[in-house]
């Protein structure tokens, strides 16, 4: 039994209705959802492992694979799309030599996409490690990634 996971489950009083929130907290702790943690949730809360797996794979926010040190979210909401968000994503893919959903070999960056972060006014927007970057363009990608050395 992992104590951190136990603490998270206790925080929500093992409430099954809070399964998504519990998984969110576990992911915040480990940056992904480790298999052992999911099994512990299943056992402790009396939810079949298949159901936990069902929820963990249904929602886009969850990752079953370890993620990099920095998680890059490229926004592909409509406002960002019409201003070239997709081209920013393609440039990121080229610069990092990975595709969306993948992690760089050195484990530094994971490149993900998100369908709107609520800062459409400054699109195309990118979020790295919780910080927002607005008015992105293809030529700013290199400089931005260089900040995370």
């Amino acid at each position: 039994m992992n104590e951190k996971v136990t603490a998270i489950i206790n925080k929500y009083s093992s409430d099954r209705g809070q399964l998504v929130s519990i998984l969110q907290d576990i992911q915040a702790e480990y940056r992904y959802l480790p298999k052992d943690a999911l099994l512990q949730v299943s056992e402790t809360m009396g939810i079949p492992a298949s159901r936990v797996y069902d929820v963990a794979t249904f929602f886009k926010a969850f990752s079953l694979k370890p993620r990099g040190k920095y998680v890059i979210d490229v926004c592909l909401g409509t406002a960002c799309h019409v201003r070239g968000g997709n081209r920013v994503l393609e440039t990121m893919e080229r610069c990092l030599a990975i595709e969306r959903g993948q992690t760089t070999k050195d484990g530094k960056f994971t490149l993900e996409t998100v369908n709107c972060m609520g800062c459409c006014a400054v699109g195309p927007a990118v979020k790295i490690d919780g910080d927002y970057y607005g008015h992105m363009s293809t030529d700013k990608v290199d400089g931005l990634l260089a900040k995370f050395e």
Partner: protein, 623 residues
Amino acid sequence: MTTKLLNKLSSRQDLEALRKELVRKRKTDKPTISLCNGTACRPYGCLQLTEAFKQGLEVRGLTAKVELRVTGCHGLCEKGPIVVIQPGDIFYQQVKSDDVPEILSETVAKGNVIDRLLHTDPATGRKVVHRNEVPFYLKQQRNILGNNVEINFNKIEDYISIGGYAALARALLEMTPEKIIEEIKSSGLRGRGGAGFPTGAKWESCRHAPGDIKYVIVNADEGDPGAYANEGLLSGNPHSVLEGLIIGAFAVGANQGYVYVRNEYPLALANMVTAIDQAERFGFLGDNILGSGFNFNVRINRGGGAFVCGESTALMASLEGKVGEPRAKYVHTVEKGLWNRPSDLNNVETWANVPLIINKGADSYRTLGTDGSKGTKIFSLVGKINNTGLVEVPMGITLREIIYDIGGGIRDGKKFKAIQTGGPSGGCLPESLLDLPVDFDELSKAGSMMGSGGMIVMDETTCMVDIARYFLSFLEEESCGKCLPCREGIKRMRQVFDEITAGRGSEKDLEFLEQLSLTLVDSSLCGLGQTAPNPVLTTLRYFKDEYEAHIKEKRCPAGVCKALTHYYVIEEKCPGCGICVRECPQEAITFMGKKKPVMMDESKCIKCGICCDVCKMGAIGKR
């Protein structure tokens, strides 16, 4: 500073006494710096700016003499961070940390206006000093969103001092549930989440549904890409949503409420958590609220990044800890919703309208708007427009007024092409419909819908075929997969679009798309699939010429679809500076000597568009 409360507020007298005290404290001549900390201001560095103000005030020994009010979204996100200074209602935009010393020593201390931080009216070129003269705000009616500027988003005291929770006291202590429902019905309030179902009628059905245990839910799973209207409201004024929710709970007879917040909105989530905690401490939540005998508690649930969870039955499934799959609604959720009990779910903005109606009365509320749509509506005005931001307008205003008078027209002198409303369930409306009054019914008649409030402006460089394809691929990814028409139909439509945008489309495709669209509308299980064809149908209806250009002429008029677009150097414009040569990842551009135009080898070009982005001379063309 948080007011210390030894006891919870247990009566209306308690609340009014506290309000009096807070208003007295607030009404001193203390200068106030109202500083936007909304999500859209974050990329501009508003957090660092806030820190700079804090330090500046401390260094000058002004911390106690000047109020620094950290607020939610002020609306004009394009020009953030926004700072408004009282007295004087002085409006500064694009403020940087370096500007702080001057603002404190000149504006706050002496009342002098700093010219370079003022807003310039794009139409006249005139500098504007006061917030209420900024053209962006002139045609707006910020009844709901306007309070964002007046309150620190983490201080319940600020909300109380501007009249917060007075509607709750009135509802709980002076009105019966039936009377509240009557008032909401008579106000004409319709659900702000998209479809526009009459709120009062929904509440009434829930109240009359059999069962002792009922629930009320805030739908803050604003999944429409390009819409952040709910985010701006929830993070900027969480108590207004909470107050509406408690009134609604009393009206339908619920003792437990839920706020389902999108995981992608960390600020809204944090501020709502704080608000609920404060409301509990002050006695607006819990047992015997304000001495009325009514008990009510609220819990927050986080979404997991699934668009379909904005659908009521999917959201409720998610609240039960299951995957967010919708179910057929033969039995409405107001009768059997969460845990199979009567549940009333409303959008964030709908809830925030409730205190306003109770305070002002339905008669007054009804005076604003059109026959079928009353009150105001918040939109996130974004895309290729000059003044991007959150706007709140009376129902019935025309699209033209929103785009040109409030939005300041199209960016970079480009030509307007379309406005997209209603997210993936909505449609794209052309220039010929710009004089359409914005309300639930008019937008639906035009083939679009109100949605939760996204308004994305598109110009001549946006390809409408690509936009339709974009929404399909979005919905394909977000379809839960439970019903076949949605799961396979959207995918099939997207495949057809892949062919068209690759230059392999045929005229039969358009007929097929229309047919398949109608199948989805008729046979999908939930709103996601039923409305999924809207972007396709509206672009086919209003922009058929673009489809034909892709199919017949193998040409993308906007220069977006890669397979149909070719980049070239406009020799007479190219000074041979070589920036594009350096930036091209493919080494497809060659330097030909000083002051000579560069040369492009199209066989190496991957059409990434970087050359176009870096060229200051506009010397890279697309055809």
